[in-house]
């Protein structure tokens, strides 16, 4: 029981990071019908931007104001990563809109390779580790000498993720921008006829997805305290798995899928073996695709002639 609760806490933390990345996949897939393969690497870039912002701040701020520092780091990462993703969409995907289906996917794979190697060349191939933040823990309860704990770090991650998901939900479901975004998802031509600037809406979709990836990147940095240029691929594929599990195109599905993947991964590591935790995540992807291609909350795809 105590191990279970502890793993539940850890799993939700990991799952909220996956969920934030998964929203990016699901939004872009919903509006463009393409798998944005570079999204995992955008997440990695955002972690690096957060790292740089943290290092700049740490020379000014000592100790006390760490919450304020985190807020500034978060905003900096969101702004700069949004810009990166906006530029990527402009350069690598927009010229290929309306081209055949594989072209944007190949372009995205190329972009993913480019981003990874760009960061490797620009920032060096070694792991970058920061001193631990918010490392104090609260002991929730103790059973037979086993402390079930929740760290401040985890609370921060839950809070930030929760607040931003609420803001994001408000943006998509209550504002004109969100309506335009959903309209483009359903029918781009009709949306354009009704006076919606489709290109701008797609750009904004990329910006939002990057901003959420940047939140995930910052949280990843806070949680693990270490980041390297190769860290985009595996979380990227797992977040995509989460998006597919939740039903691609469905925003609540992406969050639920992310939590599910995070929980499965931590429970698998706790009860079976850490060696095969990635295999477990990938196997779930395969099984879901075979037996439940539309995912948990997705609409089944109707095949038309």
């Amino acid at each position: 029981m105590e191990v279970f609760v502890q793993q539940l806490i850890n799993g939700i933390t990991l799952g909220s990071i996956y969920g934030l990345i998964a929203i990016g996949y699901t939004m872009v897939f919903g509006i463009l019908g393409m798998v944005n393969f570079a999204h995992g690497d955008v997440f990695m870039v955002s972690a690096f931007i957060a790292l740089i912002a943290f290092l700049i701040l740490s020379s000014w701020i000592d100790g006390g104001l760490i919450a304020l520092a985190l807020l500034i780091v978060l905003i900096a990462a969101m702004v700069f990563t949004s810009l990166v993703n906006w530029a990527i969409e402009r350069v690598a995907y927009r010229p290929l809109r309306g081209s055949f289906r594989l072209a944007p996917l190949i372009s995205a794979i190329g972009m993913s390779i480019f981003l990874m190697n760009f960061v490797q060349v620009a920032q060096g191939p070694r792991n970058k580790s920061i001193p631990p933040l918010f490392s104090d823990v609260i002991v929730l309860f103790t059973v037979d000498g086993y402390d079930v704990t929740i760290s401040y770090k985890q609370i921060v991650i839950w809070l930030v993720t929760g607040i931003l998901l609420l803001a994001f939900w408000y943006l998509v479901s209550k504002t004109a921008l969100g309506r335009a975004q959903r309209a483009c998802e359903q029918d781009q031509k009709m949306a354009a006829l009704l006076g919606i600037n489709v290109d701008r809406t797609i750009s904004i979709t990329f910006v939002i997805s990057a901003a959420l990836a940047a939140v995930a990147g910052t949280m990843y940095l806070v949680h693990y305290g270490v980041v390297s240029f190769a860290d985009g691929f595996t979380p990227g594929v797992k977040a995509f798995t989460a998006a597919v599990l939740g039903g691609i195109g469905s925003l609540p599905g992406a969050v639920i899928g992310g939590l599910a993947i995070g929980l499965i991964e931590t429970f698998w590591s706790a009860y079976f073996s850490t060696d095969y935790k990635d295999v477990a995540a990938f196997s779930i992807l395969v099984v879901v695709m075979i037996f439940l291609p539309q995912g948990l909350l997705g609409r089944p795809e109707v095949e038309k002639v």
């Binding site: 897939f29 393409m34 798998v35 870039v45 690096f48 931007i49 790292l51 740089i52 912002a53 290092l55 700049i56 900096a76 700069f80 810009l83 990166v84 530029a87 350069v91 690598a92 290929l96 081209s99 055949f100 289906r101 594989l102 072209a103 996917l105 190949i106 372009s107 794979i109 190329g110 972009m111 993913s112 390779i113 480019f114 981003l115 990874m116 190697n117 960061v119 490797q120 060349v121 620009a122 920032q123 060096g124 070694r126 970058k128 580790s129 920061i130 691929f233 594929v237 798995t241 597919v244 095969y276 990635d278 295999v279 990938f282 992807l285 395969v286 695709m289 075979i290 291609p293 095949e303």
Partner: protein, 548 residues
């Protein structure tokens, strides 16, 4: 009068608009400023105690921003339309192209003389430029020849078409002759030390990717199933070969009751490679079917992601199943291929002694080159033959329209599975060749990046086009290998400059740029396998590719 007015209008349009250009350049510069500010201006470096410290690189950052600003400015001010038109005209004119080629050749010669005479940086730059001009000269000379043939034998007449196809056949023969002669010529001119790099790093390496590209082309180009986990079959081939050659079959003990089943591959000795090559291929094709079954119902991007997951699962199992595969450490001492039973060793019984020639380590490299050349040609020949068989036509029909296929009574299950199996088989052949060539394999060689590179080669070459795939493999693999050679760049960018770091960076950038330039791949026409009366190439835009 009217014509004068239009002329004035075109002149007006072509006149550069400085204010607009400056605004655009300012915009690009501003975006570049913000884009590169975090990751270029600052560096999270480690100090002696392995703590992160912040360093700044303002000069480098300034170079990035300035190049974005001035690059955009030049782009905006250049008379693009006129240049494009002139370029198109030049491409049509053999005389202009020939002159350009001759000029470039002369320039190359002059620069080489400067390089020989000069010392230090100037001569290095001159040498680099002369290589550049030399490449340009070769390309323009080929262009001139093509333009000449096209103008001399127009495709609009019957005799012109016939002559063009004759020239095509002759060119293929010349290419084949070149491929056969390549290692021997290299050895002849450059000697053992000089030529091994050109035969091994360029010849064999490129041919492995050509073969993998052609193998994947069956799955992606013909059957239209996007497979992002092709490297799994490459890995299965390599590990099957290495494990069987080193350990023999696991059920030897059981089989000893049936002597005719007892095959201890280790006792095969010099023949191990030749016996195990087909077995590795067959095992890989089993894995192809195993992967094919669950993904039968998936299409397009979904199929791509599931195959990617399969590739990763195979790699993770190879890493974690240490008892069998020795994990990250890999398997060393894999038996090397022999000249049909005669090993490439020094002394009695070796290849050199048998043929009465002095021993030279390059014999094996040259032999390996011919083996992979034959394997690659086998893949190409089989693909061409298969396209004409009912199964090949079913693949292409499946790519065009799966529902129509089912309506016409084509069994889509067997059609998809055969595509996966045959594609995987060639991947397995390539894998066992790879293991035998290296003598050492580890999971590091079978990452997702390899799959991405192979898919990139197939798509960039133009899916379904054999020659396009070969060209793409030469460009992408040869080009990135060539990056290793460019020591001259060290003199331009400083001592610490390591060109190999930039290989994959440029590879990724190249993928994006080629896709934007030619979304249908380099060769964007397809020649149908079945035709009425005359063979006509069709545009790639009419082919539904990667549909699912």
């Amino acid at each position: 009068m009217a014509s004068e007015a239009t002329q004035e209008a075109t002149q007006d349009a072509s006149r550069p608009d400085f204010a607009r250009a400056l605004r655009a350049a300012g915009f690009s510069g501003g975006i570049a400023f913000l884009l590169f500010l975090p990751l270029i201006a600052f560096l999270a470096a480690q100090n002696m105690r392995n703590e992160l410290v912040l360093e700044t690189r303002w000069p480098l950052f300034a170079v990035f921003v300035a190049s974005a600003f001035f690059g955009r400015l030049i782009w905006e001010l250049s008379p693009r339309e006129r240049l494009k038109q002139q370029f198109a005209e030049t491409l049509q004119s053999p005389i202009r192209l020939g002159t350009a080629a001759a000029t470039l050749t002369i320039a190359m010669g002059a620069l080489r003389i400067v390089a020989r005479a000069g010392f230090g940086i100037e001569s290095d730059v001159a040498l680099a430029l002369s290589y550049l001009f030399g490449t340009g000269a070769v390309v323009t000379a080929i262009g001139a020849a093509v333009a000449w043939v096209k103008s001399r034998y127009p495709a609009t007449t019957e005799s012109g078409r016939r002559r063009q196809s004759q020239i095509g056949v002759a060119l293929r023969m010349v290419a084949l002759g070149f491929l056969l002669a390549y290692p021997l010529v290299m050895f002849w001119f450059l000697g053992t030390q000089g030529s091994i790099k050109w035969i091994d790093n360029f010849g064999i390496q490129i041919l492995i990717y050509v073969m993998l590209g052609w193998g994947l082309n069956i799955v992606v180009g013909l059957a239209g199933l996007l497979d992002l986990g092709y490297v799994a079959f490459y890995a299965v081939g390599a590990y099957s070969f290495a494990l069987l050659a080193k350990n023999g079959l696991p059920f030897i003990a059981f089989a000893s009751e049936y002597p005719f089943l007892t095959v201890d591959f280790y006792q095969l000795g010099p023949w191990a490679f030749w016996v195990l090559l087909p077995i590795a291929g067959v095992l890989a094709s089993f894995w192809g079917i195993l992967l094919g079954f669950p993904v039968l119902r998936l299409r397009g991007d979904y199929l791509a992601i599931v195959t990617l997951a399969f590739g990763e699962i195979i790699r993770l199992v190879l890493i974690n199943w240490v008892d069998l595969t020795n994990g990250y450490a890999g398997i060393s001492g894999v038996p090397r291929p022999t000249f049909f039973g005669i090993p490439f060793i020094e002394g009695e019984g070796g290849f050199a002694a048998y043929f009465g020639i002095p021993f030279n380590s390059i014999h094996r490299t040259i032999f390996l080159y011919y083996v992979i050349l034959m394997l690659a040609l086998l893949t190409a020949a089989m693909t061409i033959r298969l396209r004409r068989l009912p199964i090949g036509r079913a693949w292409e029909a499946l790519r065009e329209d799966e529902i129509a296929c089912r309506a016409l009574g084509i069994n889509t299950v067997t059609t998809k599975l055969t595509a996966f199996a045959i594609g995987a088989m060639f991947g397995g052949f390539a894998g066992s060749f790879f293991a035998a060539r290296q003598g050492f394999i580890s999971p590091e060689s079978f990452t997702f990046m390899e799959s991405a590179v192979i898919v990139a080669i197939v798509v960039l070459g133009g899916m379904g086009s054999q020659i396009g795939v070969a060209i793409a493999a030469i460009l992408m693999i040869g080009g990135t290998e060539l990056m290793r050679e460019l020591d001259v760049l060290k003199h331009i960018f400083g001592r610490d400059f390591d060109p190999t770091q930039y290989r994959m960076l440029l590879f990724g950038l190249g993928m994006v740029l080629i896709m934007i330039w030619k979304p249908r791949g380099l060769i964007s026409t397809r020649s149908p396998s079945v035709f009425l009366k005359e063979r006509k190439a069709v545009s790639g835009a009419h082919v539904r590719e990667g549909h699912g």
